[in-house]
Amino acid sequence: MEISDGAVRILAGLLEARTGQQLAIGRRWRIDTALRPLIAKHDIPTLDDLVHRIVSGRSAALADEAIEALLNHETFFYRDLNAFRLLDEQGMGRLHAARAGTQRLRIWSAGCSTGQEAYTIAMMIADRPDRWRGWTIDILGTDLSPAAIERAKEGRYSQFEIQRGLPVTQMLRRFDQDGEHWQASSLLRQSVRFRVHNLLTAPPVGMFDVVLCRNVLLYFSPDVRTLVFSRIASAMQADAVLMLGAGETVMGQTDAFVSDFEARGLYRKRIDATAVAAFR
């Protein structure tokens, strides 16, 4: 379906203003794929007509629906398995030693989409009962999409979604089959909490020991990316761990983080000279 250049610019501008995400020219095809069901639902003849209605301000809900449709919710369980193994063995192992006194850990899955990443972390922890017995572990999943967060809370996945990355033994152990769907057990759902949050705004309250922000920042402009990195850093403990998506890096993006010299592939907050002096 045809869409004018002007309409594309308006949609791209709206998306970036609301979410920080950019709609690359090369992904123009995505507008058509994403918005076609929306115009069918509202019986709107063309994509240009949809944009006209949004711009006219007659329906704020329509703009919300368009933004929701343009967001990429791609995610799956244990995405980049080796990275999760590294986090489990090195990152979490180190934090286990560092927090032995308080036995408390806070984990933030930022941009968690429909929840698979947050549930992956919860399963990783559940798989090590000896390590984490007696600990209070708070796992928070956030995403700017209310629809994605509702799905995450429900923890109900299609057959196609459930097996993307999830070991079959975990599926049998921690999910219940419901026809063609599988739902996270109540125990697994209780171990994670979800809420709507926009990464362009102040981070959730409190300090985190582990933050996962994977395959989210790549949609942002360099300036927005730098801003979000600094917001995330402000919500992390000095020795906390940051996990990005495969192929993502902090290099050239921010001064707030450095590569974790003990666990290459993970990142830690940069401790500047003043802060180091303060520690001494």
């Binding site: 995405r79 398995l81 080796n82 057959q159 097996q163 990355g165 033994t169 049998l172």
Partner: protein, 121 residues
């Protein structure tokens, strides 16, 4: 390159699987039923077998049990890949020695993730 034996009585499924596997840089061979697959493994054991359930001559489960009786230097990993999606079927496959289970339909990312899980990616 890693080797994968695709076992399915549907030529179409074998073709689709072959296409995905070749993009994942596997060397692919094919078998139309469990017996053919067993014969193939005896000649040259692949790194991994992608196995359908319902097939003529010898089913996927029968193949898996027969494979368990064979001596290999390194036993091939087996990923069941089937439309049998009930818990009872999945448990039966795991109990019979399957390393992983893929429900049809699947895509490249799903298969790639399963290969990572069984250590052949």
């Amino acid at each position: 390159m890693k080797t994968c034996l695709v076992v399915d009585d549907s030529k179409v499924i074998r073709k689709v699987a072959r296409h995905i596997l070749e993009t994942l840089e596997f060397t692919v061979s094919e078998a139309g039923d469990g017996q053919e697959a067993l014969d193939s493994c005896r000649v040259s054991a692949p790194d991994v077998v992608l196995l359908d359930w319902n097939m003529p001559v010898m089913s996927g489960i029968e193949f898996l049990r027969a494979l368990g009786q064979e001596e290999f230097e390194t036993r091939p990993k087996v990923i069941f890949c089937t439309t049998e999606n009930g818990i009872a079927h999945i448990r039966a496959a795991i109990d019979a020695g399957a390393d992983e289970y893929v429900m049809k339909p699947f895509d490249r990312e799903t298969l790639e993730s399963k290969f990572q899980l069984v250590g052949v990616a």
